[in-house]
Symmetry: C2
Subunit: 200 residues, 2 copies
DNA sequence: CAATACTTGTTGACTAAACAACACATGTTG
DNA sequence: CAACATGTGTTGTTTAGTCAACAAGTATTG
């Protein structure tokens, strides 16, 4: 039960993610029970357990899903220039952190930190994949470290902005963090490489 | 494969109906092939044949579905008075005929007549069920005939309006047809009976 | 405190959907 | 005309989803 190419699996997971997303608008994750999620998704309760460990596992996957949605809606397929893509990713990440922060002001601090660590994780994965696709010369171990520096920088500045200055426009912060990691990114700004990395 | 209580069946049919509905906005039913419908519904082509004889069968069920949607969206659940419900049904039927006529101006005459006969069929079923629910005294055979007169009257006047005067407001026609069948409906205007009949 | 009602996570039998393969019809291109 | 492609409708096998029933944990209430 993990072959992602079966349309039933894609559909079922979509239904579960959307159902939880809807319910989270009205209630805290703690107050939501599995039966409710299943009902809203028009699925059997047992089916949720076929796909996710429990509702918190589903919740984590929802975060991943929302992050991906945010990135892909920002990343216009017409951006040819790699540095432009990077800027969009930074902006999207900032927005994502902000939206998650707003949506969760009243929630347990424990969920805030879950959201943040998931965001960082996904940001790292995305940047690592992009770097790998755009620069096959360097060894993986080096790309890993550079991806870590870039992703943690973006994440850190984003979080700093959300926590302390989120009424201001993020543009200045975006500019600065990009400038500071530019010397790393230079190695990956290959203009002829247009494809955006597929990320899991 | 016909137990309507299995959520998978409800979901699959909904997906197929919606897929065809979307495709009909851009193409004629003739130009649409089964593969396209299945793809849009994110279903396997063979699954369509589990539920419908062919795409024309699906098309007929779509008409039924759209008619039901039209009726239920018009019929506010707060209408306590039975005569008010009847008026809503007439208006909804007129609107349905008009929309179907507009949507199919360029289509084969054969589909126009299919649409019309389906509309009449559904209108009869609906009115028959309402009458039966509201008047258990009369024998079925009599209710059948009275339902036929009422439903054909409504249908006929509606079609006449659509064909000849559809730029004018339908209100006058609605008024008149209701007045003309009022003596039949009187037997069924039971104020304390609020429930609207479930129709297949 | 015990009785009661829910919620959770799991199991196994049943049913619907996916999928590839099939024969057959219809079309269209050299 | 034959060769080729494309759409139709059906079949058998495999896999996913449904459902009722289960034990175990956790509130709620008298």
């Amino acid at each position: 039960m993990s072959n992602h190419s079966d349309p039933r699996i894609v559909r079922t997971r979509r239904l579960l993610l959307d159902a939880l997303f809807d319910l989270l608008k009205t209630k805290d994750i703690k107050k939501i029970n599995v039966q409710e999620i299943a009902k809203k998704a028009t699925l059997n309760r047992a089916t949720l357990y076929d796909h996710y460990k429990d509702k918190y596992d589903l919740f984590e996957h929802l975060l991943v899903d929302l992050f991906h949605q945010k990135i892909t809606q920002r990343l216009s397929p017409f951006d040819k220039v790699c540095s432009e893509k990077f800027r969009h990713i930074v902006v999207a990440s900032f927005e994502f952190l902000q939206e998650m922060n707003l949506g969760c002001t009243e929630r347990e601090p424990k969920f805030k930190s879950l959201i943040e660590s998931k965001t960082q994780e996904q940001l790292f994965k995305l940047i690592y994949q992009m770097m790998k696709n755009n620069c096959s010369k360097k060894p993986d171990s080096e790309i890993e470290i550079e991806a870590a520096v870039v992703s943690w920088s973006i994440f850190g500045v984003g979080l700093h902005w959300v926590r302390n200055h989120n009424s201001k426009s993020p543009d200045e912060y975006v500019q600065k963090v990009l400038a500071l990691v530019a010397h790393i990114n230079e190695d990956y700004f290959v203009p002829e490489e247009n494809k955006i990395a597929e990320f899991a």
